[in-house]
Symmetry: C3
Subunit: 269 residues, 3 copies
């Protein structure tokens, strides 16, 4: 199977600056908006039941993240996900800490029938979604990426979606084709909500590249991998890392991505 170059995905994002409707947690809102603006997408955060469906229909993609969940938000997420599915707008689910409480499991089980295009999660979240035992104690990933690859493939097949499972090594699958991606930097888990922001960035890439959702998702992960690596070279700690990451995403070029297979351990498995 042939894939278009990853750089084309970024070029399309920059050209179309897709509007990404973000329903995300309070912790992640500002950092997610900045990650999207730095890379080249256009974020909008809104959640009121009075307007959420109207706005989802305008957007290039929807990103739902259940971080600081509550019942009113869960109801709005239902409206938005249903609208996205009905209007064939791509949408991304980020099931934050789904294994931690019964409430989160119920909300995710109610969202899955609206067929997310991509699920972006850490390994313990993927395992919780597939009904396997999760060692997750909240927002941290404690299951190893290797242990969870089978769960990711099974989830992708059952949901007919892409699963982007991120961690020290990322594992990406649409149920048939699989990729591993390394890179990034050990400081990344020391900055809050980078994974939340990545989920919204995936939505932006998929919006800008509707024909190639798997490659688009891989490109979003590759942006984080390369920019994270570069930011780590310049950082003295998590404060300067966060600043350098935004700068690196802004400076990233399509060529940086297209040459990724030469410079980073990217390979189909």
């Amino acid at each position: 199977m042939a894939y278009p170059p990853l750089g084309d995905m970024l070029a399309a994002l920059r050209e179309t600056t897709p509007l990404v409707h973000c329903m995300t947690n309070y912790v992640a809102m500002n950092s997610t908006a900045n990650l999207l603006l730095a890379t080249g997408a256009s974020p909008a955060m809104l959640h009121a039941p009075e307007e959420v469906a109207e706005f989802t229909a305008l957007a290039g993609a929807l990103s739902i993240n259940i971080g600081t969940l509550s019942t009113p938000w869960a109801e709005s997420m239902q409206l938005a996900a249903r609208t996205a599915n009905a209007s064939q707008t791509p949408w991304v689910l980020d099931p934050v800490a789904v294994g931690a409480t019964a409430f989160r499991q119920q909300v995710c089980q109610a969202l899955l029938p609206h067929w997310p295009s991509v699920i972006r999660a850490n390994a313990s979240e993927v395992m919780a979604l597939t009904g396997l035992a999760s060692q997750g104690r909240g927002v941290d990933a404690t299951a190893s990426t290797d242990d969870a690859a089978h769960a990711a493939i099974s989830l992708a097949q059952r949901q007919h979606c892409i699963v982007a499972m991120t961690g020290e090594t990322d594992f990406l699958t649409d149920g048939t084709h699989h990729f591993r991606l390394t890179g990034g930097h050990p400081l990344m888990p020391r900055v809050t909500t980078l994974g939340c922001g990545l989920s919204a960035l995936v939505a932006g890439f998929v919006a800008a590249n509707r024909e190639h959702p798997l490659t688009a998702t891989l490109a979003a992960l590759a942006c984080f991998s390369i920019a994270g690596h570069r930011a780590g070279q310049r950082a003295d700690g998590p404060g300067s890392f966060q600043v350098a990451l935004l700068d690196a995403l802004y400076q990233l070029t399509p060529d940086d991505l297209s040459s990724l297979s030469q410079v980073e351990a990217l390979h189909a498995v």
Copy 2:
């Protein structure tokens, strides 16, 4: 008409550190508080109907931004705006993405009768408020500042208020006197919620300079223009820009503002 020097406005802000009651969106809360603290005002964020009127009456000014709107917040904004108007406390309206959904238009139409002192908006928001066709697709400004100047003047006249329409070029009017202000930096739209923060900063300047609301608003815009320009000289991207902007606002002196007409394209039109 003679105006006091812009630098006097900043000196008054620093001397009185006015308390600004901010009812703003979740994305902007942290960055708005930091922009106010860096420049010299004192922010406080609260929104509960049980306390909002009590607090507005204590504050030097109120700033209402409808970014992540919901019905409970809209009701609290009504309470706060009514209190501000009744107690002659200056208040600023930032009608984020008012043209994007019917809900936003309704909420803004219900706030306008409480007579905001200043409306701080981008061009498409100004045009949506005046009932003109808007090309806005959300939080981005897509109408040009020039096209919208007539809409801004008409809105200022109808609402007996100041309209601060910001973009690549800012246009400021009280319906009779008009200013254009350039400066800033192309990285500014790549950082989220700077406009939201500017609205709250306008509230702070007007609180500290009750006799001169137009000059005070111009001073707030000038702070962003100069500090944005300086931050751009030091930034490698939107991450370092945001950091440098806070530092530049903190370092700004009254003299920097008073000499603005010599160094930047500031002129009455």
Copy 3:
């Protein structure tokens, strides 16, 4: 009375990375999560009544901050505080601007019977909690630390808790033993929600050092004092200060803390 070295407290935090359940205000959520991650604890923000008790029981400690209060949140805080008290999970109360409105006083009075382990507040908040006249006008501290020391001791005795009263000089007491701690930097009050983040960091230190809550609280304050001082040496303003503070907390070593009595004015009084 002998205290274990402060450095042991930080070493235990880094070893156990305690999960801190944060119920904090919208302004502080992102910065609090980053402060905890930088220092070595693991934050999780959630507040829904459907899951809050379930999650508090899993956490190493709970931190409640009433900044952007509302009735639904106040009800969830009740659930969480009751759970923490019942399960002997340490919890920290940060009574933001308690003196400013009747609503805040009511909510705090309803939380105090659940016996917070530590109250982290500024001087005017401590005085408002003890029923003394407060000059507070909101989120700023206006009472001097010296004036308020007696109020802090009385509050600690009445509530059988630790009171960490922070400001230019910090005053720490469990009602019997008292400490003063200087350090930090004048830029600290120019960055929003540092105090809110410190409250959550206290929760993390107490979770990691259950046998030594007073020393653990002192260690959290000392981290801010030393890291704040170092960040101030590198900062050009509040923007770069915030970045440097996260880096300094990340770089802090147990030895830095244990040698504190030699390098900073730390003493029992």
